[in-house]
């Protein structure tokens, strides 16, 4: 008997789930739904090379989209509701037509959307960066040679956009509401180092500074940003504003479906959300045994690993095999200027952070994070080999002191 698998979301996690289902033995139809007519592209370049150069969207297609996997990919189609009892997904096409798709097994990978500033919809010159269209629109405004770009939020995406804009020779102000950027992800000391990288590259960095309101003019019926009033009382004149204040998960269509939602889809530690239903990527919340924490990870590699694991979880269920626990050590990178920032594990602001290699003043170093005597994270700046090799120690559950000694000897 052949069964139908549906994957909702044709981005990184969804495409890897569909690919794995096919390559690892799912014989029936695999239907992939996504409202984004391009979908199937890679997001990391959107704040880096794609924004910096005049790249064609074809250049950032996902590899899985180029493979012949016999998938039924339905772009322009949004999932609007999930009926678990009837095992059916209601859909709406961009042309307005309504339909429904039955499934036997389901992978949900609808990811997340960029958060925007309230009451700024429709103001020209105000951008977020999540989709190809977002990045194309921002690129067009950068091509026009703005007087200055204000980036709101000095997280990883804000930092990358600031770096790319500097690379294009533009004046940049980077405003961060917290006293130190990235403190939750990297701790205060390392967050401060990341802020200094921007200062060194001529960015006007304003910490503990939020947005009071935008200054706009209306010309020919179009409202356009011309400046930003910051909470430090200053007005920064700028023609482009990029908002990088995090994401909200795309779970709206699942309200009332019976799945447990809590800033993500709550899964068990095998990524199963309900019988025959798994979730993966930015949207999946699960319990990490290794870190004894509830995780929802927004990393590229984690979306691939999750997509693969979700597919295998459903195949195991169909075959009556024991499911595998999903608990990889997270790994993340961010490229800013000529610095490669990489992070293995999952540090928290209260962890011990010890620089074990190189020098923070030269922006070339390795920092180890310890919690309760265990190694929980490795941060590297321009030290990719170390971060990758030391990741294995987190996997092994190495003690912090032993891991630091190993790192110092590298």
């Amino acid at each position: 008997m052949t069964s139908t698998a549906v994957v909702v979301g044709a981005s990184l996690a969804g495409m890897h789930a569909a690919r794995t289902l096919r390559l690892e033995g799912h014989e029936g139809d695999i239907i992939v739904l996504d409202p984004d007519l391009r979908a199937q592209y890679d997001r990391p370049p959107l704040s880096k090379q794609f924004l910096a150069e005049d790249l064609d969207p074809d250049r950032i297609m996902l590899q899985s989209a180029r493979e012949d996997l016999g998938l039924d990919v339905r772009l322009g189609t949004r999932a609007t509701a999930l009926d678990l009892a009837d095992r059916r997904i209601a859909t709406q096409h961009l042309d307005g037509s309504l339909d429904s798709v039955p499934f036997d097994s389901l992978v949900i990978a609808t990811g997340a959307a960029a958060r925007r500033l309230p009451d700024t919809a429709g103001i020209a010159g105000v951008h977020v960066v999540r989709t190809v269209d977002d990045s194309l629109a921002l690129r067009a405004d950068l091509d026009a040679g703005p007087r200055r770009v204000v980036v709101i939020g000095a997280g990883f995406i804000g930092g990358e956009v600031a770096a790319t804009c500097r690379g294009r020779g533009l004046e940049v102000t980077l405003a961060e509401a917290m006293p130190v950027p990235l403190e939750r992800a990297l701790g205060a000391a390392m967050g401060e180092v990341c802020a200094r990288v921007h200062v060194e590259h001529g960015v006007d960095v304003r910490l503990a500074t939020g947005v009071e309101r935008l200054d706009t003019v209306t010309d020919g019926g179009v409202e356009r940003v011309v400046g930003v009033h910051l909470t430090d009382g200053s007005l920064v004149e700028a023609d482009v504003v990029v908002v990088g204040i995090g994401v909200s998960v795309n779970t709206g269509w699942l309200e009332g479906s019976g799945l447990t939602l809590d800033d993500g889809i709550v899964c068990d530690d095998t990524l199963l959300a309900a019988p025959g239903v798994a979730a993966a990527g930015d949207i999946a919340r699960y319990h990490s045994r290794r870190f004894d924490r509830s995780f929802r990870i927004e990393h590229w590699e984690h979306a691939i690993a999750g997509g693969e694991a979700a597919a295998r979880r459903l195949l195991a269920e169909q075959r009556g095999e024991a499911p595998a626990v999903f608990d990889p050590v997270p790994w993340f990178w961010s490229d800013q200027y000529d610095r490669k920032i990489q992070l293995s594990g999952r540090p928290e602001a209260t962890d011990i952070a010890r620089v074990v290699h190189g020098s923070v003043d030269e922006f070339r170093f390795v920092t180890m994070y310890g919690r309760e005597g265990r190694l929980v994270g490795v941060l590297g700046m321009n030290r990719p080999r170390h971060v990758i090799q030391l990741r294995g120690l987190i996997e092994e559950g190495a003690s912090f002191d032993e891991a630091c000694a190993r790192a110092e000897a590298m």
Binding site: P44, E301, I304, W331, W333, K340, Q342, R385, I388
Partner: protein
């Protein structure tokens, strides 16, 4: 099976080295070196994983 790396795309983030250190090595000069261009068939699964996980799509496998 032959390992092909597009060095114009590669940005030396060492992901491949984490998966298949027998084939890939990023050295202290920050360049990637391919240690074994013609790895044995037993390495295929790891090599394919490296192809999938390379953030720059810089690795491919040539069959010759």
């Amino acid at each position: 099976m032959r390992v092909v790396v597009d060095f114009d795309l590669c940005e030396s983030n060492a992901v491949c080295m984490g998966i298949a250190p027998e084939i890939f090595e990023v050295r202290d000069d920050d360049f990637l070196y391919v240690l074994d261009e013609n790895p044995p068939e037993s390495m295929r699964a790891k090599l394919e994983e490296s192809v999938q996980r390379c953030p720059k799509q810089a690795i491919s496998i040539a069959e010759d």
